[in-house]
Symmetry: C2
Subunit: 162 residues, 2 copies
DNA sequence: CGCAAAAAGTTGAAAACTAAACTAACTATC
DNA sequence: GATAGTTAGTTTAGTTTTCAACTTTTTGCG
């Protein structure tokens, strides 16, 4: 079967996305590290924990929320624990379970970093894009996520919105 | 100055993007590795080299093209050279220079992988997004890239055809 | 020319990430 | 209530990425 290549419009869009995403993520990560000594993935963990009840989540929930493997969450949380940002506790209802919980220092870090981070997201994305294009972008990636989430089998069967 | 938080629409768009991008890139990388034993970054290097005159580029040009650090390009190209995908040559006009050049095996790998990769890009992005949203997405990231692109204005907005 | 500064690449060690094997605890079934 | 099968999380080893230091060559300039 012969390949269905991208049209030049599609290719232009795809390449702009590849480039723009790389630059944007790179920039945001660097910015967080320089100013607040946290990486993007760490920042996302702080956010998820801060949004959770009691500022605490089971490791697996956390992993799922930020789309990391269990192994990776173990490593990252261990690092963050060493840095004093989170704390690990035994889960009372499940002997295997471990609960990651934001420390005060972790919460402070998030509170300090968040305004700068939001400003960077604005400066790098929100403010340079037309509002309707940003909405389109949101729709587009919601569709992407809907397609790719839920394990994997061929798409089209999972038309849920995120 | 008090923080200018995102509106809920903006936040929704931003989060969809974070999630969708993570899933998409992960998926594409995994797909390339499983089927063709190349990572996304390696694949991009193959693409850039294949588009260059004589299938060859100076290390720094390559680094710039794929937005990698010099160090990273050195390591990655070394790995790819070990795998037989590229070859390194001394640059005749500049004694410090090194030229990375696609081997036949590297070209073959690209030719074999490209249709699968394009199919994956279609299935994961192009085909699940409304055409006008894809155009918007392209515009959006072109703007992002233009904002963040450092150094010289580079012909980023007029990509060559694959 | 001669020499300081800059540029191109590489190196090596440390950090982060991945994958697979592993331990411990829970659940279902008979 | 034993035990096979899952699930949660960690560990270890191997790979990739980053960072800073380094070598070599080129460039700019007095």
């Amino acid at each position: 079967m012969s390949t269905d290549w991208l049209t030049s419009d599609q290719q232009r869009a795809w390449r702009s996305y590849l480039l723009g995403t790389t630059l944007l993520m790179d920039h945001l990560d660097r910015d967080l590290r320089e100013r607040h000594d946290v990486s993007m993935p760490e920042y996302e963990i702080l956010v998820r924990l801060s949004e959770a009840d009691d500022h605490a989540l089971r490791m697996a929930e956390l992993a799922h929320a930020v789309k990391n493997s269990r192994s990776r969450i173990t490593h990252t949380v261990a690092r963050m624990e060493r840095a004093g940002l989170v704390q690990r506790r035994q889960c009372p209802s499940d002997g295997r379970g471990v609960i990651a919980c934001l420390t005060d220092a972790g919460y402070d870090t998030l509170e300090t970093a968040a305004p700068d981070h939001v400003a960077a997201v604005r400066a790098g994305l929100i403010d340079v894009v037309a509002p309707e294009d940003l909405q389109a972008l949101g729709r587009a990636f919601a569709a992407v996520a809907a397609t790719l989430e839920t394990g994997e089998p061929d798409p089209v069967l999972s038309p849920r919105s995120v």
